[in-house]
Symmetry: C2
Subunit: 232 residues, 2 copies
DNA sequence: CCCTGTGAAATTATTCACAGCA
DNA sequence: TGCTGTGAATAATTTCACAGGG
């Protein structure tokens, strides 16, 4: 890549978000969480070494990551916990409040709807959808479950841009199509199904069984461990 | 790492698992799933192009991945669906049946316990643990929820090597310690907490809020899109 | 010819190691 | 002196592009 030509970021508070590598973005939430914990513990500043340990990464990686977003630590001291927290929040777009639609109120959907971690971190479930007669109309966390048919109206009216799909796999693509048409541009998909969406829509997939299969591989590898020197 | 000293794998059907890159391992379950779907659809063979499309990756990557595990496709034709399915299963260690312990039977834990995707793909939840009086002793999917105190005995007795942590964050490290002591060597952690475990234990973390925060970043980036030439 | 398998090139990510500021 | 920020080195991953077998 061309380097050194975006001189625009001289004293900018944060770098152009387009330039932040995916790998870094994926770690920012972890840093944010660690900072939150440190802040609660009364720490005003933190070194890259300490923050890295709290987030479970090595300190060179942490510093490189933070440098991507133009963050200025204090040499000889470390980072101001509160300032850094604010900066990461800004880059992640967490200042803005996000309304999230949740489609599929089965077991997993119910768990997600009640997941404290969402509300805590600026994501409010604003609408719930399902198709089952026994589910539609019930209340969950103060929200009435609506029929999927209402999705286009509600999502459009509430300007919801992020949605979570927790439906059975067979319904996922149809739901995604409907969400996209209603203006959603980010989807978190729990259904084990590859979704086909336009380029401007981001999809992240979480497949619980896939995670276990990856662990299974490592188990398998370990039990084959004829060579105990392995881990280098 | 030294290479070339475990000559045992001469004509072995699959390459030494130690040599398969992580990025590839993470995709194998997706290929497996796609193959399953194709098999049900009556396909006997499949080209790298078609399988890649079904799995949502590009075909060069797919071929490179499959070549890592020594898989032999048929030039001019493609891969035998059944053979490839078997081969990936073997590499992932799915031939062996895996008993899984689930700790934390809250909303999320209940959803996980009932998740069809686990049982479907060779993972049987073999034990449930919690500490809440109103949960311990209840039945869930034919299994009695046991008190956390019983964890060491049960996990050891049933030779459980894979566990899922779905407890509140504050309990996660204690639970992990206990699991490790009882012989568990792979942990899937849903609690938003960095776990400290010995080197021989693999941990995979799934943080639902992190996924949303990553989506939030992309939303933020999109809405900043002052420059339509973007990708440059 | 079609489609796999794979070297080589390109890109991306991680780690090292140290100059330089507080 | 201690710790950040970052070039440079290394490693991992992806993509290209094509030789060669069926």
């Amino acid at each position: 890549m061309r380097s050194g030509d975006n001189r625009a970021t001289r004293t900018a508070p944060a770098a152009d978000p387009r330039d932040i590598p995916d790998a870094t973005v994926a770690r920012l939430p972890e840093y944010l969480h660690a900072l939150h914990t440190l802040g609660e513990g009364g720490h005003r500043t933190v070194s890259s070494e300490a923050l890295a340990a709290a987030a479970g990464v090595n300190s060179a990686k942490l510093r490189k990551d933070l440098s991507q977003l133009g963050s200025y630590g204090i040499r000889g001291v470390g980072y101001d916990v509160e300032v850094l927290r604010q900066q990461i929040s800004d880059v992640l777009g967490l200042a803005r409040h996000h309304s999230v639609a949740l489609v599929g109120v089965g077991h997993l959907g119910q768990a997600l709807a009640g997941y404290a971690g969402f509300a805590n971190r600026g994501f409010a479930i604003a609408a719930l959808f399902d198709v089952a007669d026994e589910t539609v109309g019930t209340e969950l966390g103060g929200l009435r479950v609506r029929h999927l048919d209402e999705l286009p109206i509600v999502v459009t009216a509430e300007r919801i841009s992020i949605a979570v799909i927790a439906t059975p796999p067979v319904a996922a693509q149809t739901v995604a199509d409907s969400l996209v048409k209603a203006g959603v541009t980010s989807i978190l998909n729990f259904a084990p199904r590859v979704l086909d969406v336009p380029d401007n829509v981001d999809v992240r997939k979480v497949d619980l069984a896939v995670e276990l299969q990856i662990l299974s591989f490592h188990e398998h590898r370990k039990s084959r461990g004829a060579d105990p020197r392995e881990a280098a």
